[in-house]
Amino acid sequence: MVATESELLHEPALSYAYPLYRNMLDNSVVFIYNGPITPDLIVDVLNLVEYRLEDSREDRRISKKLFNIMVESFTIGDDVERGGAVLLVRQLPYLYAVSVGRRVRGDSVYAIKSFIDWVNTCSSEELRDAYHHLLQGKATHSIPPHIGGVPSISILDLARKSHDFLHYNFEYLDDFESFFSLEARIRKNNS
């Protein structure tokens, strides 16, 4: 179909491109994706990020950790029926931040928030024990396998791998849904 003259005069991408570019630059975003998450996509994204890391000659230990955290972040974003998920990687001088965002049921916000708050208070041994429980498929009274569609074991896994607090945010969408964002950070001096 041929675009009309009016459509050509109002190409919206042109007005979005610069603010998007500027926003990514200002927030040190090196990668962003929005859409459904599939294993094929994960492989493609990892290849892309690997290429960028090679370019910046990143320490292999940090690269490995970034990869492992990205793989698990994808797990949080997959299986989302509507709207897919957003994935974002930021590269700052002293850390990498991997974020995943997805829609969740509004009535699960409190439970997800409480679980992450609890995870952020745990010692590495407590995280390990909780992770072991879930890995074995043992139901615990306090940790169900999924909270509002989000796999609990993935949150524990991200906390263990990042050795840092998990950061989160919820945006109210309507009476039924909120947008949940989770960020795991990898400090470059992580030891």
């Binding site: 294993p39 094929d40 230990r61 797990t75 072991h132 074995q136 074991i153």
Partner: protein, 127 residues
């Protein structure tokens, strides 16, 4: 009993279960679309092998990366090997990890802690 050979793809591992020589190998990436679907034939094969295992079975895990869904299935594989070991047939597992990959090393330690099975952690030799 026939050997089970599954070639690797960019999202699933190479699996070799050789009953004649008692050498098993899992290598590559494990982020399958359907993790349970991928591992179920492996569980079934191991159940069959457990009826008449060799006196010694060597198992090599040399994985690049995998998600927690695969972790659960790898644990199930190891549990089946643990049962063979507990029945008096030696099973020796070697868990390889890149020296820069502390998460892969930690995963090996998790399996060591959860199972009554000799799992040796070994740094991969860089080629």
């Amino acid at each position: 009993m026939e050997a089970l050979r599954i070639e690797s793809t960019h999202k699933t591992p190479r699996v070799i279960l050789d009953p004649e020589n008692g050498i098993f190998e899992f290598s590559g990436r494990s982020i399958p679309e359907d993790s349970v679907g991928f591992y179920t034939p492996i569980f079934a094969w191991l159940e069959e092998y457990s009826k008449q295992p060799l006196p010694v079975t060597h198992v090599r895990f040399d994985l690049e990366y995998f998600n927690t869904s695969s972790s659960k299935n790898i644990l199930e594989v190891l549990k089946r090997l643990e049962a063979i070991h507990a029945a008096g047939h030696e099973v020796r597992v070697t868990w390889y990890y890149d020296e820069d990959d502390e998460d892969m090393e930690e995963t090996g330690q998790d399996y060591q802690a959860l199972l009554n099975l000799p799992i040796e952690l070994s740094v991969k030799v860089q080629s």
